[in-house]
């Protein structure tokens, strides 16, 4: 055995942004290595460097002790490193064997310019048998399920004799049964001597199949552990991070008012693949309360926010606001009722980069008459409004008439917050409000949220930053697999308890919230 793959101070920068910062990764021969981390932690970047789809900014990669010199995926495969991407690269109208051999077609013995289909079918059938896959070589790919298509991708690599197989989020597209089948398959491949690197953020799979785990957070390795010596709760904590970023004072006041302003009842929805992603979620928020939602990313938080902010339709359940049913209302209708929305992705949903600051400052209010005179935009009023927001929220801009693309992340987020809070809302839905912004902006945003709560506003805070949820919220619901698994009081709970909930285990003392 011994080390098969090693990186030394591997770094990748995209402009000013460091996606991978001095990564020292060691993979032993014949093991299943899990690499976990949240979305955006830098897992895929690291793998794409190993596979030579990305050029490292600095640092080295050693394969069996030798520094690698190849610089294309084709070379990587020849050196025995293969990768199965999240999105498949198959020809839907071709048969299974044609896809496996795509690019390395077997020529006919005599007529060299013809493809020997018979030989191809035979070889593929043998390959499938050798590795114990269940697949018909003559089936057309477009008739196959996603799980079966993934097998073809793996077989493509196996045919090319790779020793190291990298799988990027292989289970994200699979059904639970297919996941189990894939995990078994991976163990089988390991038994046959292959080394497997598994990128995922699903901890159950990590525990089930891997030998060792490397946790990546914000482009850096947070920890290396043997799977047998850790548990899901510990990994969840490592992924989300323990660093307390909060510097603002939260005195947890405002609990006095008992009036419930926002009630979510049995909210349920499916994603485009038909899987249930939000599963009978129920909670209520009182005036002057911050309700936090914690959880490992990908457990339905994004979808929940989309449901509550008019970007996705619920298939079941209701949402009530001030006694009125508002399920599945459009975003502008929600805003008119006094709900402020800070969306998860500020450039995709919160702002339009290629539009001016003032145009962005009225987004969501274009249907109201506040910025119009006889149905026509009153540009003087709009510019004045935008200037007020900039002054009041201290947004640093370069050019008033320029586009939003001039703003830094923190200032862009401030513009969203300014726009939303300026409407004098009674409820704030804030999703990942401080993701990717600088410390100063984090402090400012946290203070805004607390001030709003202290003046009687209700807040729904969704964040993958555990410390943020812990220090701001008055109550926390923990999401796991689309459900709110338990509700805890941040002043009384421990990180271990939350960690267990995030990993899907219900500890004794937690309030069980299932119906």
């Amino acid at each position: 055995m011994g080390t098969i793959l090693q990186t030394k101070d591997l770094t990748k920068k995209f402009g000013d942004f460091t996606a991978n910062d001095k990564i020292n990764l060691t993979v032993e021969e014949g093991e299943i290595k899990a690499i976990v981390g949240e979305n955006g932690a830098g897992k895929s970047t690291l793998m794409n460097m190993l596979y030579r789809q990305l050029e490292p900014t600095s640092g080295e990669i050693y394969l069996r002790g030798q520094p690698i010199e190849f610089n294309s995926p084709r070379d990587a495969i020849q050196h025995g490193i293969g990768m199965v991407h999240q999105h498949f690269m198959l020809v839907p109208s071709f048969k299974v064997y044609e896809n496996i051999l795509l690019g390395t077609e077997l020529a006919h013995d005599k007529l060299r310019f013809l493809v020997d289909h018979k030989k191809e079918q035979q070889e593929c059938a043998e390959l499938i048998k050798r590795y114990g896959f269940d697949l018909d070589v003559n089936e057309v790919v477009e008739n196959l399920s996603v799980g079966q298509q993934q097998k073809i991708e793996i077989l493509k690599m196996l045919y090319r004799n790779v020793d190291i197989l990298i799988l990027d989020e292989p289970t994200s597209v699979l059904t639970p049964q297919e996941v189990d089948e894939l995990l078994l398959q991976l163990k089988e491949l390991k038994a046959q001597g292959k080394t497997i690197i598994l990128i995922t953020h699903k901890l159950r799979e990590v525990m089930q199949v891997s030998d060792s785990v490397t946790v990546i957070k914000k482009g850096q390795i947070i920890g290396n552990v043997k799977t047998s010596e850790t548990n899901e709760a510990e990994l969840a904590q490592m992924m989300v991070g323990r660093k307390v970023l909060l510097t603002v004072q939260n005195d947890h006041i405002g609990q006095e008012s008992p009036e419930v302003i926002y009630t979510v009842n049995d909210l349920t929805t499916n994603n485009t693949y038909g899987n249930i992603v939000v599963d009978h979620v129920s909670f209520e928020i009182k005036k002057g309360e911050i309700y936090g939602i914690a959880g490992v990313e990908g457990n339905g938080q994004s979808e929940l926010v989309k449901l509550l902010s008019g970007m996705m339709e619920a298939t079941g359940g209701t949402v009530h606001y001030k006694g009125e049913e508002i399920t599945n209302l459009w975003a502008d209708e929600l805003r008119k009722l006094g709900i402020a929305i800070i969306p998860e992705d500020r450039y995709a949903q919160g702002l339009c980069k290629e539009m001016s600051l003032s145009a962005n400052s009225i987004a969501g209010s274009t249907t109201s008459d506040a910025f119009k005179k006889n149905g026509i935009f009153d540009f003087k009023r709009i510019r004045q409004h935008c200037q007020e927001l900039i002054d009041h929220y201290q947004i640093r801009i370069a050019e008033f008439d320029g586009n939003v693309s001039q703003l830094s992340g923190g200032n862009a987020q401030k513009l969203i917050i300014a726009r939303e809070m300026n409407r004098q809302p009674d409820l704030l839905i804030a999703s990942q409000p401080t993701r990717g912004v600088d410390i100063g902006a984090i402090e400012f945003i946290h203070q805004q949220i607390l001030d709003f709560r202290n003046s009687g506003g209700a807040v729904l805070l969704i964040s993958s930053e555990l410390s943020e949820v812990m220090s701001l919220s008055d109550r926390i619901g923990v999401m796991y697999k689309g459900k709110i698994l338990g509700e805890v009081d941040p002043l009384e709970t421990s990180e271990t308890e939350i960690g267990l909930l995030m990993a899907g285990t219900i500890p004794q003392e937690a309030v069980v919230y299932e119906k």
Binding site: F14, F17, A19, N39, G40, A41, G42, S44, T45, N48, Q53, L54, E55, S309, G310, M311, W330, A331, D332, E333, L334, R335, I341, P343, A348, Q349, G350, L351, C352, K353, E354, M355, A359, A363, G364, T366, T367, G375, I376, F377, F379, E399, D401, G402, N403, Q406
Partner: protein
């Protein structure tokens, strides 16, 4: 930043034209003629004489509208390539109204013809609009192919059921004089040009001063943002394609009543007013002022062709060559807008796949 963008847009439009004229000049030199003189005659006669200028403006009327019909969808990231077909059916139906409904009152007759023309434009655009909004069928392909369907249908209708039996060629009957626009004096210019200009002005106003324009811009630049701020993207897409169809149908009706007076197989000219509109819109960077300038420039080029024939020994096809070269340059620009061609070509190896985080 903004002024830089404007400058780039202007360069983007002026450069292809200059290059095309340059290549044209080389060809004229090769024939043994003086290019400066030829261009002088071409633009001089079509822009700087009263007769030429009015002819040019007259021809620019429908182009203004087809250019606008294309621009409003392009700005929203939609591609209505069916303006030609929508214009044809609009013109054809307006022709039937003009010839078969003997309304008598000139104003009313024209209004009815315009209403019918615009309505059939909308109805015809409904097909790609619904397919796009509900089934995500690429509107570019549908609108493009439906043009030929419409051409064939109209060819049948005008050579069969609605053919003017007295004529020696395929045509529908001539419209009543109450449906014809009267010309200004001895020029070919009619009030339709002013109507086109007015409609264009209204569109410009809606586009820059109202929610309609905000929607178009937001949807074109960031559909997800639009959805998140409560703009009904699907509804807006349908509405935009229908508005585009209405303008195209209206333009067809106007062309019928101010120029053709009957539907023949060459109703919309050799290249087709809908296609010309696309060129005009691209050349004008989909901006209102740009479209006005480019539609006048383009029709000057067309009217200038006749003058070249008349006053020099250069064949008038030189204009078609220049047009062709402009189209070639602009289509590169179109491909770039639609598919990010240049971006893909210039992407360096280290940057492919972007930050795949």
């Amino acid at each position: 930043m903004k002024s830089n963008e404007t400058l780039r847009n202007i360069l983007n439009s002026v450069l292809p034209v200059l290059l095309a004229l340059l290549i044209g000049a080389i060809l004229i030199l090769a024939i043994g003629e003086n290019p400066l003189e030829a261009y002088g005659i071409m633009f001089g006669k079509s822009l700087f004489t009263l007769r030429g200028l009015t002819n040019t403006l007259h021809a620019a009327g429908p182009l203004l509208l087809t250019g606008a019909a294309i621009a409003i969808t392009f700005r929203a990231g939609l591609f209505n390539m069916g303006v030609e077909g929508q214009l044809l059916i609009g013109g054809f139906m307006a022709g039937l109204v003009g010839a078969y409904l003997h309304i008598g009152n000139p104003l009313l007759h024209k209004l009815v013809a315009f209403a019918v023309g615009a309505s059939v434009g909308v109805l015809f655009a409904l097909i790609p609009a619904l397919l796009r909004a509900y089934f995500r069928v690429d509107e570019m392909v549908v609108t493009l192919t439906l043009n030929y369907v419409m051409m064939t249908i109209l060819e049948y209708l005008s050579s069969g059921p609605f053919r003017d039996q007295g004529a020696g060629y395929v045509t529908t009957p001539t419209i009543d004089s109450s449906a014809m626009f009267t010309r200004f004096g001895s020029t070919r210019l009619t009030p339709f040009f002013l109507i086109a200009l007015l409609l264009f002005g209204i569109l410009w106003f809606l586009n820059t001063k109202t929610e309609f324009g905000y929607k178009i811009e937001a949807i074109g630049k960031n559909p997800e943002f639009s959805e998140a701020t409560g703009l009904r993207v699907r509804k807006s897409i349908i509405m935009l394609i229908l508005v585009s169809g209405a303008i195209a149908g209206f333009a067809g009706a106007g062309h019928m009543m101010s120029q053709e007076y009957k539907y023949t197989l060459s109703f919309s000219g050799v290249t087709g007013l809908g296609w010309d509109g696309m060129l005009v819109s691209l050349l004008g960077s989909h901006s209102p002022l740009g479209i006005i300038i480019s539609s006048i420039f383009y029709s000057a080029l067309k009217t200038g062709a006749d003058n070249i024939n008349m006053y020099t020994s250069i064949p008038k096809e030189i204009v078609a060559v220049i047009e062709g070269i402009i189209i070639l340059f602009l289509s590169i620009r179109f491909l770039n807008e639609r598919f990010g061609l240049l971006e893909k070509l210039s992407k360096k190896k280290g940057e492919k796949n972007e930050p795949a985080l």
